[in-house]
Symmetry: C2
Subunit: 238 residues, 2 copies
C-alpha cells in the first residue's frame, strides 16, 4: 500500500512546466532546486549518509538554511528521489509503445535508445542504486512502472503480432525474459557508469542484439505460458 500511495503522490509532478501566474518567488523555488541538485550530486557520491553541511557548502549557503526549505534531512532525500525518478520519465513513451503502425521491434528499439540516453548518467544511476539499497519502496514503485508500462507492453504487443489472443494478464514467468534483457541493459549502465569498466562501445548495437535475443525465444515462452494458463483457472489481474 505504501508504494502505491507514493506513486499516486508523485505522478502529478511529472509535468512541472506550468509557470506560476507571477514570476514571484521564482528565486525561492530556484534555491530549492539548487539545494536538491546539490543534494542529489552529493548523495550520489557518498550515499544518503552524506552531510547537510557539505550540501550547503556546494550551494554556497549556510547549513541551517536548508532547514527552512526542508524541515528534515529525510524530506530533502525525498525531494531528491522525486526529481531523479520523475524528471527522467517521458510520458510520451507510454503512448509510443502502443502505436501499432510500427512493428513491436521498431517501437521498443526506439524506446530503449531513448531510455538509456536519458537514464544512463552517473548521478541518477548511482542515486537509483543507493535508493534501492536504502529503502526498497521507491525503487519497487519505479520497477513496477517499468513492468507495467514497458515490459508487459512488450509481451502483449508481440503476442498480438504473432496472432495470439490479446491477453492483458502476464505472469511473472512470462515477463521474465523481458526483465532479463532490461536487466542486461541496467547492468551495462552499472558497469559503464558506476564501475567505470570498459564495455561494448556501441550501445545501440547492444540494444539491437538484446531485442534479437528476446524475439528469438519469446514465442516459446508465450506458448509455455499459454499451456499453463489453460489449466490454471484462478489467476488474478495483478
Amino acid at each position: 500500500m505504501g508504494a502505491t500511495d507514493t506513486m499516486t503522490d508523485l505522478t502529478h509532478l511529472v509535468e512541472t512546466d506550468a509557470e506560476p501566474k507571477k514570476a514571484r518567488r521564482a528565486t525561492t523555488e530556484q534555491r530549492a532546486r539548487d539545494i536538491v541538485a546539490a543534494a542529489a550530486e552529493h548523495f550520489s557520491e557518498v550515499g544518503f549518509a552524506g552531510s547537510t553541511r557539505e550540501i550547503a557548502k556546494r550551494v554556497g549557503v549556510t547549513q541551517p538554511l536548508l532547514y527552512r526549505y526542508f524541515p528534515t534531512k529525510d524530506d530533502l532525500i525525498e525531494a531528491v528521489y522525486k526529481t531523479v525518478y520523475l524528471e527522467r520519465w517521458n510520458p510520451a513513451w507510454d503512448e509510443a509503445l502502443k502505436d501499432r503502425n510500427r512493428t513491436t521491434r521498431e517501437r521498443f528499439e526506439t524506446f530503449y535508445r531513448d531510455y538509456v540516453e536519458t537514464t544512463f548518467t552517473p548521478i541518477p544511476l548511482r542515486l537509483s542504486y543507493y535508493a534501492g539499497l536504502r529503502d526498497a519502496e521507491i525503487n519497487q514503485w519505479y520497477n513496477h512502472l517499468i513492468e507495467e508500462l514497458i515490459l508487459k507492453q512488450l509481451v502483449r504487443e508481440h503476442r498480438v503480432e504473432l496472432g495470439m489472443p490479446d491477453e492483458a494478464y502476464v505472469s511473472a514467468a512470462a515477463l521474465e525474459p523481458a526483465w532479463q534483457i532490461h536487466g542486461g541493459l541496467m547492468h551495462y549502465g552499472w558497469r559503464k557508469h558506476i564501475l567505470k569498466l570498459r564495455v561494448a562501445p556501441d550501445i545501440e548495437q547492444v540494444i539491437s542484439d538484446n531485442l534479437d535475443m528476446y524475439f528469438c525465444i519469446a514465442e516459446n515462452t508465450y506458448r509455455r505460458e499459454a499451456h499453463i494458463t489453460e489449466t490454471d483457472i484462478a489467476h488474478d489481474e495483478n
Copy 2:
C-alpha cells in the same frame, strides 16, 4: 594497477582450510571472524557508514576491542570485502568450464545454477552493490574475474564448438552478449533479494532461457567480430 595488486594479494586466501599446527589461538581467529561476520551483516544493512559500536554490540563486546583486531575501520571494511568476494568463489568452476567432454551449453548451465545458488543471498549481494558504489576498485577486480574466467570462456568454447578458430582474444563488443545474459541474472538477484520484488519463481528456467537467448544470437556476433578483426591489424591482448 591497484586492482591487479589487490587480485594477487587476495587469491591465496581462497583456500583457508589449512589448520594451524596447534589449535592455539583458535578462539582469537574465531573472534576475528565473528567481528567480520557482524560487520558484514551490519554494513550490508546500512552501508559502510555503519558504526563500529553497532558491530561491537552484535558481537557482544565493547567497541574499543574491535581496534585490537582491526587498527582502523577501513581495515575492517577490507576484511569484509575479502570474505564476501573470496569465500564464495569456487576454484573448481574455472576447470569445469573447460571440460570439453560436455557441450558448452551443459557446462554453463551447470555453472550458472551453482553460481546463483552460492551468490544470490541478501548479505553478499547488498555488500557487493554497496562496495561498487563506495569504491569501484574491488568490484572492478571481481568483474574482471567474471569476464576472464566465465564470459570469455563462454565465447571461446562456443566458437570452437562451431568450428571457428580457437582465438584467445575477445573484444569488448564480442563479449557484450555474454555480459547481457550475466547482467540479466544479476538484475534478477537485485530485484529478488534487494528490492524484494516478485520475480519468476524458477531460476533454473531463467538460466535456461538466458542461455537459449545467448546461443540464438551468438554466432552472428562472432561473425560480425571476425569480419572486423580481419581488417583490424592492431589489437592488443587486453
